[in-house]
């Protein structure tokens, strides 16, 4: 094995320089995927670029515009942030679902995204919350919508020399809330068989004026489901509209058979979770009258 370097840059600029200078360098955030892959021989980086000493990657800020979540903030820190949980309960619960307390102490949303798993729990919740990925690279900063960030299992839009710095989430409009649900065969420590995230906005009369739906673990990347969104918008989010949204989600799913579940089962479950997540998001939007 060639000598592997460990680097711990103190700034984004320094991290970009390190990443640009070495095509084999890998960003190390919580290491819950990277170090496991390294140990298994799946990845052999020439350098670990530990980004956890860069303040911008380790901070959470919420203002009038919304959330700026540092890419390497551990899940446990997110879970302890009361304001984040209040404004984006679905996003917070998608983070909370990942791994054990130990894994929560390390794993980050940025890492979850960059690992590029189609079953990543946070991705659907980020998509329905219109999240944007802030990427730094040799040519400066660029922003990519989270739904365009992952392009295939294990692959993202990140180019040589680039790293994910933060995730920006716009502040939810009035009477807006979200939910994320997943199915795993037990209650903890597993990977989603299917997952669904929903965000809805209601008007004063309780009619849905905007909706976002995303499903996970049922295609090579997490998928937005425009058909399900159309089924919800304009409706009072009654049983019929939730059922149409579920049918649209099942129809949009393109799952595979694997040891976690059959394609047919996943397609059904994607619909069921979409219906339940939409109902939960709607209930939260009705209760939270003053979230904005």
């Amino acid at each position: 094995m060639d000598a592997i370097r460990y680097e711990s840059p103190r700034s984004v600029a320094e991290a970009v320089r390190l990443m640009a200078a070495d095509a084999g360098a890998r960003v190390l955030a919580g290491g819950t995927d990277l170090l496991v892959q390294f140990r298994a021989g799946v990845r052999q980086p020439s350098a670990f670029v530990d980004v956890k000493r860069i303040p911008e990657l380790m901070s959470i800020a919420i203002d009038d515009q919304g959330l700026r979540l540092g890419a390497a903030v551990p899940a446990a820190v997110i879970g302890e942030h009361a304001e984040l949980r209040r404004l984006w309960p679905g996003l917070a619960e998608s983070v909370r679902l990942i791994g054990s307390t130990q894994i929560q102490g390390r794993g980050s949303v940025g890492g979850n995204l960059c690992n590029g798993s189609p079953a990543a729990d946070t991705t659907c919740a980020l998509i329905v919350n219109r999240a944007q990925c802030v990427i730094a690279g040799p040519n400066g900063e660029r922003t990519v919508p989270v739904d365009a960030f992952c392009i295939a299992p294990g692959r993202t839009v990140l180019q040589h020399g680039e790293l994910l710095v933060a995730i920006r989430v716009p502040r939810p409009a009035a009477r807006t809330s979200d939910a994320y649900l997943r199915l795993i065969p037990r209650t903890e420590m597993d990977i989603a068989v299917a997952g669904a995230g929903v965000s809805v906005t209601l008007d004063a009369a309780g009619v849905c004026t905007a909706a976002r739906v995303a499903i996970g673990a049922v295609a090579p990347t997490a998928l937005r489901v425009p058909g399900a969104e159309q089924a919800l918008v304009g409706s009072p989010l009654d049983e019929a509209s939730l059922r149409y949204a579920a049918e649209a989600a099942s129809a949009a799913a393109r799952p595979i058979d694997d040891r976690r579940g059959t394609a047919a089962y996943r397609r059904t479950v994607a619909g069921v979770l979409t219906r339940r997540a939409a109902a939960l998001a709607a209930q939260r939007a009705r209760q939270g009258t003053d979230r904005g």
Binding site: Y6, G31, G105
Partner: protein
Amino acid sequence: MAKLHIETTINGEPAEFLCDPHETLLSALRTGLGLTGTKEGCATGDCGACSILLEGRLVPACLVLAAEAQGRAMTTIEGLSRGDTLHPLQQKFLEHAALQCGICTPGFIVAAKALLDAKPNPTEEEVRYGLAGNLCRCTGYDKIIRAVLDAASEMKGTTA
């Protein structure tokens, strides 16, 4: 391969060690520092046997690089007793016979300490969820859960 020189704080005492850049903190603790109380189980973050507190936060030492410890403070199982006086969690694990082979025990006790630090009076359900990242293949968990609840009751919210 050039070794890295790391200065850190372990169980309240300054410590230093040499490590490879890709070496895990678990390996550095066990082989470099001789702190073998922290166990290696799965080495993939699934079993909790290597649980330690890094800057007060529960983490699997198998998924931390040793070099990350530079300038940081950690607590391992060796830091829980006060001299010959066991930590209440250690004492209750003995009293409840909450171990058989013992490999998972340090991880359970450190994870339970993290749980009680954050939540001094947990319900049984909270203990079960809080320790879901720790695997035991001997006891069936019930004795462990009882030991943690008993320790919480004895500690009555005092931090130890």
